[in-house]
Symmetry: C2
Subunit: 246 residues, 2 copies
């Protein structure tokens, strides 16, 4: 059966996240399946590269679906752009080999967290940034980031209680950039656990504010205690930027 | 009585415009007067440099109000930031001479209209741009803009039926800029009539699409016929950028 890859962006503000929860729910996956199902006349399952939580945005989410349709990718694109709500955008539709699987084949993901580092108003960006005017020591944050890099069991940096599946992940890069009044934290890794990026950001902020020493991070990995890591920062500052494939 | 100048930005999406319409209405002026009235304990009248229509945004609106208060500008700023909704931002509060009047003293205004000139998705900017994927001849638009510049009776480029007040205005500059996938049109002039910027944009788009010759603009000025000018483009693409004072 033909397999199609979707490259998506969305404003997650009013959604309950990526993953379908019921029949006519307010999720990104649900909306896509609803429109595609109507398009092909039979139920369609959309596979995402991963779930994004309620309120999290995406500039480069990747998904795929199989459908017995003779429609060309360009026709599917036109149909989707016409019927999807305006806060879900389709950048591209591509015909891909039948075995392509957006989740299993994903090699790396890039997430960005935007901190509005000022007490000035940010009226137009308010749904996409976390306002955090407190003074931050960027050197300490860089130092803390270095302790987080590499392959670790990130269970303590997630909201998972316990997991039968492996919670070992590799964090390849954390980039801190000051862009105007924003501090942008960009994370690249082979996968991220539930709430992991938001807890990593909370932890880096604790280091930046001086309430946690960068070296404490090693202890968090050793003890696996969630309570030692930083808070889970708000969803709205987070955006899935890119998913990389072989 | 002390006089304070407010430098404001707002996302106009959910408002019925600047001008107060009733007692507890959804207008920018109404919201400001409500919060300031509570702050000083007596009714406050906020004077704006001009009205913005329903759905129009501002990055640099200027207003002023008189109030018998001993509060310092910084305290007023803090109070406003605390109690105003998050789509109205206060950039600065300044003590100004008692005679300062944000409307009478305004010399020039700068408005920008953002056209999203692509059929790609614009999920995050969707409330601030007008999607217009049709091909445009920018040379023709520049030519048409040249015909609009200068001092004219702009009645035909407004939604005013007729006016007892003068409808003569001076348009000093129209700048066309391609910024990524956007075409930004920036208008600088001593004042703008009701819907004037949006009709100027509609007229420039008609020139760019070839449905109107740039030279027809002279005829519109001569005949004063609204029907000959372009359509009124949507409010959401428009933003008041700046108000200049002596």
């Amino acid at each position: 059966m033909p397999n199609f890859r979707l490259d998506l962006c969305y404003d997650g503000s009013r959604y309950r996240g990526w993953q379908r929860l019921g029949d006519s729910d307010n999720t990104i996956q649900g909306k896509l399946e609803q429109v595609l199902g109507r398009m092909v006349g039979t139920p369609v399952e959309v596979i995402g590269s991963g779930r994004t939580d309620a309120g999290v945005h995406a500039l480069g989410q990747v998904a795929n679906f199989h459908a017995g349709t003779a429609m060309a990718p360009q026709e599917i694109l036109t149909y989707l752009r016409r019927y999807l709500p305006e806060d879900i955008g389709v950048k591209e539709v591509m015909a891909v080999p039948e075995r392509f699987h957006s989740r299993y084949n994903a090699l790396e993901k890039v997430y960005r967290y935007r901190i509005f580092h000022s007490d000035a108003p940010c009226v137009f960006e308010r749904k996409y940034v976390y306002p955090y005017p407190a003074a931050l020591d960027l050197g300490k944050m860089e130092e803390a980031a270095a302790h987080l890099l590499g392959t670790h069991d990130f269970l303590a940096f997630s909201s998972l209680k316990r997991s039968k599946k492996s919670t070992v992940r590799t964090l390849r890069e954390i980039r801190l950039e000051e862009v105007g009044q924003e501090l942008q934290l960009t994370f690249t890794g082979d996968g991220f656990l539930y709430h992991m990026v938001r807890i990593l950001v909370g932890t880096l902020l604790a280091a930046g504010e001086g309430t946690m020493a960068p070296s404490e991070i090693d202890e968090i990995f050793q003890t696996g205690r969630r309570a030692m890591a930083g808070v889970t920062v708000p969803a709205k500052g987070l955006c899935l930027m890119e998913v990389q494939y072989p």
